[in-house]
């Protein structure tokens, strides 16, 4: 009797062990799928996360044609073309992994892309690893060299004035409007790189917690206009604005966020409000202090 019992138990145990092994091999039961389809372990995990959270908008093929894409404006990103809005790298280049991870963490303001903060850091890395399998470009090309950002100078009225002059000179108002309401003369005809209509950012719309598509901090804002948002009409200004002057533009742009209780709006109010900018002229630009030793002057690699 004992022998038969033992034999049965043994067979049962072997059967169980085999089925567990098979299930793990197929990547179903364990929760830690083994790599298939030429994917790395990380890409395989990312694939699972993608199918659960991203596929409805970005689509099975990563081309931005998911089932809900038709109801979404702006359209979901097409990963097959490897063109990304939020980069620390120059226009025309691939972003860093950290740029993509930052986009996942914060989501994209004024679009349907939510924040994926609830995912673990590891899972975000896995997701980025998978998203990069959609375009061959990631295999043949390295990410761009991040633009160099000098230390932010203090906010003062002279800097805001210079930023105001720069806003006029490089004609940000053509799209964003003189008050930054996103209603400039070219605003109504703007289209993205897939010929979909797109609206310029309205600086005045948000409240105290004003955010941009690609971040919230002054440094994020600096990066936005110096690298441009590839795939959209927003160009890079790295060729035409000197690294230190770019901070002046950041300080001025912050004052267009009229509902934001920031240092820039406090300084402008103390100087007499927007009327204080009217007197701004070339004289102010000429008085721009030279860069402190050690600060970086180059806007970074071109293209």
């Amino acid at each position: 009797m004992m022998t038969i019992r033992t034999t049965c138990l043994c067979i049962l145990l072997i059967a169980m062990a085999t089925s567990i092994a098979l299930a793990q091999g197929s990547g179903i039961s364990s929760g830690y799928p083994t790599p298939r389809n030429g994917f790395s372990a990380s890409e395989q995990v990312g694939h699972g996360i993608y199918l659960r959270y991203c596929v409805l908008c970005h689509g099975v093929y990563g081309d931005g044609n998911g089932d809900t894409a038709q109801f979404i404006d702006p359209k979901p990103r097409d990963f097959t073309i490897a063109t990304f809005k939020c980069r620390s790298t120059p226009t025309g280049t691939l972003p860093l992994d950290t740029d993509l991870i930052n986009t996942l963490v914060r989501g994209v303001e004024t679009t349907n892309m939510p924040s994926w903060r609830p995912l673990s850091d590891e899972n975000r890395h896995d997701l980025i690893a998978y998203i990069k399998t959609f375009s061959e470009r990631w295999k043949t090309e390295k990410s761009g060299e991040p633009i160099k950002i000098p230390a932010e100078p203090p906010v003062d009225i002279a800097s805001i004035r210079r930023g105001h002059d720069l806003f006029q000179k490089v004609e940000c108002w053509k799209c964003h409007g003189q008050q930054g309401h996103g209603d400039g003369p070219s605003a109504s005809t703007l289209t993205d790189s897939k010929d979909q209509p797109i609206r310029p950012y309205n600086f005045a719309a948000a409240g105290n917690d004003a955010r941009f598509k690609c971040g919230v901090t002054n440094e994020d804002l600096y990066r936005i206009f110096m690298t441009g948002l590839d795939g959209t009409p927003m160009p890079s200004f790295a060729d035409v604005i000197q690294p230190n002057d770019a901070w002046d533009l950041v300080h001025y742009l912050r004052t267009l966020q009229v509902n934001r209780r920031g240092e820039e709006n406090r300084v402008l109010k103390a100087a007499g409000g927007p009327a204080a900018l009217k007197s701004a002229g070339d004289k102010q630009s000429a008085n721009h202090p030279p860069a402190a030793p050690g600060e970086i002057k180059s806007p970074g690699g071109a293209n």
Binding site: T93, E171, K174, C175, T189, T191, D230, P235
Partner: protein, 248 residues
């Protein structure tokens, strides 16, 4: 000392021989090349080119006030010649000719809210300049096809900024270029290896510096696409290759 002299004499002789050879091969290859010339016509009635309203950019509207600008999709000369057609060698180039990059650096200008030229032919890795002659900003936004050798970029160019230098990494006929600020601005950059030409207002073109041989020559027009024909190029006298596109 004597050994030093011998060495110097030998080195000089070798150098002279080297330069002589270099010069002789250069001149021989120059004399032995041929070319292709021809006219490209449009059969049928050309489509109406719409006038462009530039009132959103007063400086440009003023510049064209006496001579209004139209779209440039199909420009036909008085004798039916088709302007802005890119002609290039699509097959038959030897590796040496294909890898030669012209030493000239053409300019892609933004003037009067138009691209000058409207269509530009470039070699792979040939440097070109992007300039802004207007008293206001433009953004230059080329849109190469996805997953090709070239990638989209988008740069602002306010008035008075110096031209900047660019290259394209691979062949592509043709890369559309647009300005988001002025949505009527459209142009094309055709990137191909080897000698190329763009037709003038008479529809005429000439491709020079082709070694004798059999080639496929292709003509590309932005509205009508591509046409090809086979030609044989002999040294000296250029071969004729005419094309005709049918009006849609």
């Amino acid at each position: 000392m004597k050994a030093h002299y011998k060495f110097a004499v030998m080195a000089c002789t070798l150098l002279m021989l080297g330069f002589g050879l270099l010069y002789s091969t250069h001149s021989v290859s120059g004399a032995a090349t041929g070319g292709i010339t021809g006219t490209i016509k449009l059969d049928g009635t050309p489509p109406h080119q719409k006038p462009i309203d530039m009132s959103k950019e007063p400086a440009c509207a003023k510049e064209h006030a006496s001579n209004p600008v139209t779209t440039e999709t199909v420009i036909v000369g008085p004798k039916g010649g088709l302007k802005w057609v890119v002609v290039y060698i699509s097959e038959g180039l030897d590796a040496g000719t294909a890898s030669q990059v012209p030493p000239v650096k053409p300019t892609w200008d933004q003037k009067g809210c138009q691209y000058i030229p409207h269509v530009m032919a470039l070699d792979v890795n040939q440097h070109f300049q992007v300039a802004n002659s207007d008293p206001h900003s433009h953004n230059i936004h080329p849109l190469p096809k996805p997953n090709g050798p070239n990638h989209e970029w988008n740069r602002s160019q306010p008035p008075g900024t110096p031209p900047f230098d660019q290259v394209w990494a691979g062949e592509e006929v043709a890369i559309p270029v647009k300005c988001n600020v002025h949505p009527w601005m459209h142009g094309y950059m055709a990137v191909v290896k080897g000698p190329t030409a763009v037709t003038d207002e008479n529809g005429s073109y000439t491709i020079n510096n082709l070694p004798p041989g059999n080639y496929t020559v292709t003509a590309w027009q932005e509205a009508y696409g591509s046409q090809s024909q086979k030609v044989t190029v002999a040294a000296g006298k250029p071969t004729t290759a005419d094309f005709a596109f049918k009006a849609k």
